[in-house]
Subunit: 314 residues, 2 copies
């Protein structure tokens, strides 16, 4: 029942998170460069957080108790190495300070599994009986800028007495996904009747439906958990299994597994330890992969008919 400032509110995760927050009874001050559709319980703020003074004006206008910061540079493909990542460090730090100085006391921000040193079978957000927390050693500019942001905002939060949690996102899919990512590419290609070329797909990834990711962030915000938390399913699936499920759901087109070479620097498994999110936050995902992919295919079919539900990627 708090007033939540939600950034990235028209993005892939943000749009679903807006739904989840409203469902949870929150009043939402939603931030995007271009406001979304008007709806009850939502105050839109058209704000570009990269503009000087934007965070300060926004925080003063919204006077929110809680902050859920999802905005970041997210163009498929280029986000791994684009210099825009660097701008979001400063924008995120400014936002947290402005939010705290305007009286805010609870914040959740979006991190990434790309902050970890990849290679271990399970990436741990904390020390557990099975092993220590995984070292943070990002191999990409994206992961490094997220990790740098976390280091800085954690210190700002301590200084301003903000209870900060940092949710590390793994792999996701679902309605509203931008074109050009794994699931969206395969679905669209098959729906168009194309032959879709993929790697052999042996690599296993920790995938979660975007609506579950949104519920996880909402649960994390509503909890009193602070620090780093994997927003993960803990159940890695082979990419070839995902592709095969999509092929079945579409019912036409053809996937050629193994037609593309695997990338040498890609680890075999990327999966998150989920003890914290399950036990401390009390969240577990509820949408199975088969059902989730089938829903995603339906959404893209509707999209192709110009008739999709409101979860439009920008």
């Amino acid at each position: 029942m708090s007033r939540v400032l939600l950034t990235g509110a028209t993005g892939f995760i943000g749009a679903h998170t807006l739904d989840a927050l409203l469902l949870g009874g929150h009043e939402v001050h939603a931030v995007a460069r271009r406001a979304g559709a008007p709806r009850g319980g939502v105050v839109w703020h058209d704000v570009d957080l990269l503009e000087p003074g934007a965070a300060e004006r926004l925080s003063g206008d919204a006077r929110a108790d809680s902050l859920l910061h999802l905005a970041w540079y997210a163009v498929p493909g280029s986000f791994w190495s684009a210099p825009e990542n660097e701008r979001w460090i400063d924008a995120s730090v400014r936002l947290l300070r402005a939010f705290g100085e305007a009286g805010g006391s609870r914040a959740v921000m979006a991190g990434t599994c790309a902050e970890y040193r990849w290679g271990a079978e399970v990436l741990r957000d904390q020390d557990t009986a099975l092993g220590p927390a995984t070292p943070l050693e990002p191999g990409t500019l994206y992961g490094a800028c997220k990790h740098a942001t976390h280091i800085a905002v954690a210190a700002v939060a301590r200084q301003l007495d903000i209870a900060l949690a940092w949710g590390r996102i793994f792999f996701l899919y679902g309605p509203g996904e931008p074109a050009g990512r794994l699931v969206s590419s395969v679905v669209r290609g098959l729906l168009a009747g194309e032959e879709v070329l993929t790697t052999d797909g042996h690599q296993r990834r920790d995938f979660m439906h975007v609506a579950d990711v949104a519920s996880a962030f909402t649960a994390l915000l509503d909890s009193d958990v602070t620090g780093s938390v994997n927003v993960a399913s803990g159940e890695p699936v082979a990419v070839r299994e995902i592709v095969t499920l999509i092929e079945r759901a579409v019912g036409n087109g053809r996937v050629r597994l193994g037609a593309l070479p695997s990338r040498a620097d890609e680890p075999d498994v990327i999966a998150g330890d989920t003890l914290r999110i399950r036990e401390d936050v009390g969240f577990s995902p509820s949408i199975g992969l088969s059902q989730g992919l089938s829903d995603t295919v339906s959404w893209w079919r509707a999209e192709a008919r110009g008739n999709s539900p409101p979860h439009h990627a920008p």
Copy 2:
């Protein structure tokens, strides 16, 4: 014999580093908000690196091969927790990218011992036979913003193929030190004939003369070492010993050790492992504490007579 872009060139360390670079035969493009005195081998740039576009214009103008970035917010006392620290993350990242995009290939930046988790007797910049590298877990906003900067610039350097070293500064003293820090406060108080109150001074710190710090950074720049390097002596001294040496050098005034309470959160020892800087960089400090403090007292005497050598703190 390269062209070096030196930021913070009128600061405490920067002014000494400018001398050391010129001595080493470098051409120096020196950056400060207000230019220092004209001298041979130096091109001054009056630039505020916190201004938008400043780093890009500066890098285009200087076209330097090497970057030595010392500029940061450094007001005694307040630098530990001032929000200005947050601005220097972005300024430093922008500077490294602009420098690299203008053709620069070697960079050294100033980090701090405050990036480490304090508590261990020796803070290690690398795994050694005696133990693993010390965890980076800054307890202050200053330390956190430096560490965040390192995470981000390391990724930028990888992307732009810049050979980056990160020199972690410990404790320092010497001519030109801003008033209000440990050594400068005690020296000035005693020279003014005041009774100087201190803690019991049992805590041991890794102190280095600022001219040695400047030589260390110059040696690091001239080396091909990359990654984190402690700029430390490896020989912690008790603060009470320093204070007593100053008292002797001044010859008047009186120090009351133990008149102030020790801070509960201060570790007993802060000292750096020096294997890397000694063996990989080939540097060791040359100014003994007794001589260094005596020189510092002489400098402050001259300063009090309005007659000091050029190493003026701003």
